[in-house]
């Protein structure tokens, strides 16, 4: 293999200068001539029938240009998942019923925010209140009010089931009967939220050619276009979603949102650009938070700790509409079965409708909570058996070449090596279990481990990515990709791939990205497929361009294309540095001799090429991914025994991400996930009461600040290679490393204090209560 020049290197991010100088334009920064401000009227009832909406006073207010309600829409529902089993269930604006506090009832466009705000107060809505239910287990009971009475139902004896996943293998009863030890525990995840710094924001401009142009803070333009076009009844080519910089997303900006629909419809009606930007309070009260899940876990093991049987029940409180709820209950199955080998499994997941706001994916999409449950219990089992936490994990860890129960191969799997290396680097075995020796100390130290695994791209609309690499006359390059950089650095790694494949510097490449009109389709920055799916599409496009370039050069230099190498926009014959041709000349020759071909490389990539569709969300049958990443993480904590305060001192991550295309970016992803796991495990919680969101600011919702920074150490376990001109198998790095850390922290807290907290977050009072009970 040739030595790599750009890939595998810590190249600074491509958009660094724009961001460091304040020149990067985010959706919130955009202004268009004649722009109006949009505001949304939201339901103040958790469940009610809409009897009448009177917008006449609002319409008469000077400065108000348009008011819309459900009656102005086509009444087309949408959903994060749209399948025959799970048809769309949400109107973009409520029609005859509201199902949560904050649901969109009407929207106005006015000359400024103040007028728009005042107009909202002039809209009169008559409601008839209906009984509401907020707790998912209450909502499943026969006497619970029905939230979607007329909607096609998921067949189940329980009420309000938005989705159900049921699967298993082996013989669960026999497995438990043969187990030496069986444990049953219940773990509760809290309602968390993303805290992207840029609030939800959309600017829509319906132009004179009847084309709708939309800038929106999102995780990929193609899914937005599809759903906007469908709900607005417009052809896809009349809806253009364009790139703007995105100020963070973490799962909270995927799917179509009502404010995007409202800005668009207001612009269509008003024939002027309309911008909607959420206040932070509105983000907390009305935008989608993560999926809070309950896990009931029954596990049987042999005397040596080997897993025999596992029975898992997951209940998700999806809120008033499905959102991603039916996906998270599928994924939780995956996050159970990926990391450890389980001979007998019974899994059931329920996504339950309640009168709460709708939920979205949040980084890890179920994995952090699920792994918290599994790996907390794994430590409890290890303690009962007198085995150390590292050994019990090594005994059960997924191995290289394993075939998963759904038929996927994990191919390369560095999990065992991750566990071994993270244990060694942290001297885990020497430092674990020292509670007794610290009994007199006010501040006690503890150490804990967790493992997790994550998929790298799956099949969900738009399923695939494509790319175009254009050579310019001077040999510089334009890369056209639909990928959207949301901070994770996808534009940078795509440039590294192009630079490596073609032999130009990163500076020679300009990226045109994330525009549904001018760039090819892209899978989006929300399915952990950026580096793998979009990366391979770009790799193919770049090597296609290089092939064309070399064919021309070979003719000119009178040699075979295989004898050529490229560097610094110059093509050389290997071993004869004197025989060369510049890219500029090669492009000119191509245009002259190849009927005008200016050299454009085309590439496309889809995972699991022979598999028609995504796996069944109901039964888990079918392929899920062809590329799984693994990691083991160790947390070191200090606990103040008088106050119950926990400090996460150090996090060590050993990870198999395949091949790190940009180690600096990979480190940044790990740091960010460690920080998010810290908040998840220790503080973060959105409080709700009867469907009302009580947490409305960063003062109520503490995310880690600079003073909470955790020392972060990384250990790469590299299992894949990068070779030119062939597809590569790198793995995801953006979601898996938030997942093992939550359990690692919980296990470390137990190691320090002897208190096992099974409901997150691990607040000081829970530790103090636990100490008191002991």
């Amino acid at each position: 293999m040739d030595e790599l020049s750009y890939v595998g290197k810590s190249v600074p991010r491509k958009d660094g200068v724009e961001k460091a100088t304040g020149r990067a334009v985010y959706t919130v920064d955009m202004v268009l001539p004649g722009m109006l401000w949009g505001k949304i009227l939201r339901s103040s009832y958790p469940h009610a029938r809409i009897l009448n909406i009177d917008t006449s006073r609002a319409e008469r207010l000077p400065g108000v240009k348009t008011v819309i309600t459900g009656k102005d829409t086509l009444g087309i529902k949408h959903g994060f998942v749209e399948t025959p089993r799970y048809p769309p269930d949400q109107y973009p604006i409520a029609m005859d019923r509201v199902r949560y506090i904050g649901e969109e009832v009407a929207a106005v466009a006015a000359i400024d925010e103040y007028v728009a705000e005042e107009a909202l107060s002039l809209i009169k809505v008559d409601y008839e209140e209906l009984p509401a239910v907020f707790d998912p287990e209450e909502a499943m009971k026969p006497e619970a009010p029905e939230i979607h009475p007329s909607h096609p139902k998921v067949k189940d004896p329980c009420k309000n089931i938005g989705g159900k996943t049921e699967t298993g293998w082996g013989n669960i009863e026999k497995g438990f009967a043969e187990s030496y030890l069986v444990r049953e525990d219940r773990f509760e995840g809290q309602l968390r939220t993303h805290c992207y710094m840029e609030p939800q924001a959309t600017l829509a401009s319906f132009d004179l050619s009847e084309k709708l142009n939309v800038w929106t803070s999102s995780q990929g333009p193609f899914i937005k276009r599809a759903k906007l076009a469908t709900t607005l009844g417009l052809p896809f080519n009349n809806v253009r979603v364009l790139k703007a910089y995105v100020g963070g997303a973490y799962g909270g900006k995927v799917d179509l949102f009502s404010h995007e629909f409202c800005a668009s419809l207001l612009s269509i009606k008003a024939r002027r650009p309309v911008k909607i930007v959420f206040t932070r309070e509105e983000v907390f009260q009305a935008s989608r938070h993560g999926q809070p899940i309950l896990v009931e876990l029954k596990t049987g093991v042999k005397k040596d700790g080997t897993l025999v049987a596992q029975q898992v029940k997951v209940i998700n409180n999806s809120g008033a509409y499905r959102g991603s709820g039916v996906v998270v209950i599928f994924l939780c199955w995956g996050f159970v079965m990926l990391s450890y080998r389980i001979p007998n499994l019974k899994y059931e997941g329920y996504s339950v409708y309640t009168n709460n706001p709708v939920r979205a994916p949040q980084r890890g999409h179920g994995a952090p909570n699920l792994r918290f449950a599994v790996d907390s219990q794994m430590d409890m089992i290890a303690e009962e058996l007198g085995i150390d936490p590292v050994e019990i994990r090594l005994k059960n860890a997924r191995q290289k070449g394993d075939i998963l129960p759904n038929g996927d191969s994990v191919r390369n799997c560095g999990l065992v090596e991750c566990i071994e290396k993270v244990a060694k680097a942290t001297q885990f075995k020497e430092r674990y279990g020292k509670r007794k020796a610290q009994e007199e100390e006010r501040t006690r130290r503890g150490i804990g481990i967790g493992v997790s695994s994550y998929f790298s791209g799956s099949l969900i609309y738009p399923n695939a990515s494509a790319a175009i690499v254009k050579l310019n006359d001077d040999g510089t390059i334009s890369l056209l990709t639909g990928a959207l950089d949301i901070g994770q650095g996808v534009e940078t790694i795509l440039c590294q791939i192009v630079a490596e494949e073609i032999g130009v510097s990163i500076e020679d490449i300009r990226v045109v990205a994330a525009d549904t009109e001018t760039t090819p389709v892209d899978i989006g920055s929300w399915i952990s497929g950026g580096a793998y799916v979009s990366g391979n599409a770009v790799k193919m496009a770049a090597s296609d361009a290089r092939r064309q370039l070399f064919e021309v050069a070979a003719q000119e230099l009178e040699c075979n294309p295989e004898e050529l190498i490229a560097k610094n926009r110059e093509i050389f014959v290997k071993g004869s540095p004197g025989r060369s041709i510049s890219f500029t000349r090669a492009v000119a020759v191509s245009i002259a001799k190849c009927r005008g071909n200016p050299i454009m490389g085309k590439g496309y990539f889809r995972t699991m090429k022979d598999i028609p569709t995504h796996p069944s969300l109901a039964t888990t049958k079918g392929r899920w991914s062809e590329n799984y990443a693994f990691d083991a993480q160790v947390a070191e904590v200090e606990v103040d025994m008088q106050t119950g305060q926990v400090r996460l001192v150090k996090a060590t991550t050993a990870h198999d991400c395949g091949f790190p295309i940009n180690p600096l970016i990979v480190e940044g992803q790990i740091d960010g996930q460690v920080s998010m796991a810290q908040g998840h495990a220790l503080w973060e919680q959105v409080s709700m009461e009867e469907g009302k969101t009580l947490t409305t600011s960063f003062l109520d919702y503490k995310i880690p600040c600079a003073k909470d920074m955790v020392e972060s150490q990384y250990i790469d376990v590299i299992t894949e290679k990068y070779e030119r001109e062939t597809p590569y198998r790198t793995k995801e790095v953006g979601e898996g490393y938030v997942s093992a850390m939550v359990a690692a922290i919980a296990n470390a807290v137990y190691d320090a204090t002897g208190v096992r907290v099974k409901n997150l977050p691990i607040l000081p009072e829970k530790i103090l209560m636990g100490l008191k009970e002991k």
Binding site: G22, M197, D671
Partner: protein, 156 residues
Amino acid sequence: MKKQLIELRVNGEPHELAVEPQRTLLEVLREDLGLTGAKEACGTGECGACTVLMDGKSILSCLTLAIEAQGKKITTIEGLAKNGELHPLQKAFIRHGAIQCGYCTSGMILNAKAILDENPRPSRDEILKGLEGNLCRCTGYNKILEAVMAASIGEE
């Protein structure tokens, strides 16, 4: 409300503006002067995304009325690079991977500048304490600390 005339010196350039007294400095910078590098993420002084320098001190422009800045020297992120040459902190943030989504970056860099202007060789803890009012959800602050440390010892 009746507009008031104010003079602001922003990034070395004088501006005479008629502003309504209730408008914040952040609004005037972004909407009247087109300096959108300062961001709003909360509007209530909890996140630091709107940080700018006023007479060299870091302030939250979302909590500062524009009329309070009358006659003051304001530095925004757009004014940090000189003659096309990035400030050492800007270079360090790029090189050390301290930027991901970039939304907090302007405020973070300006606050870091205020810290270094007052204390050119701060300790690790002094930097973290100084930056605790600037929230970042992407980086975990590790690379930000590295970048500020590097800039403080003259590396970029």
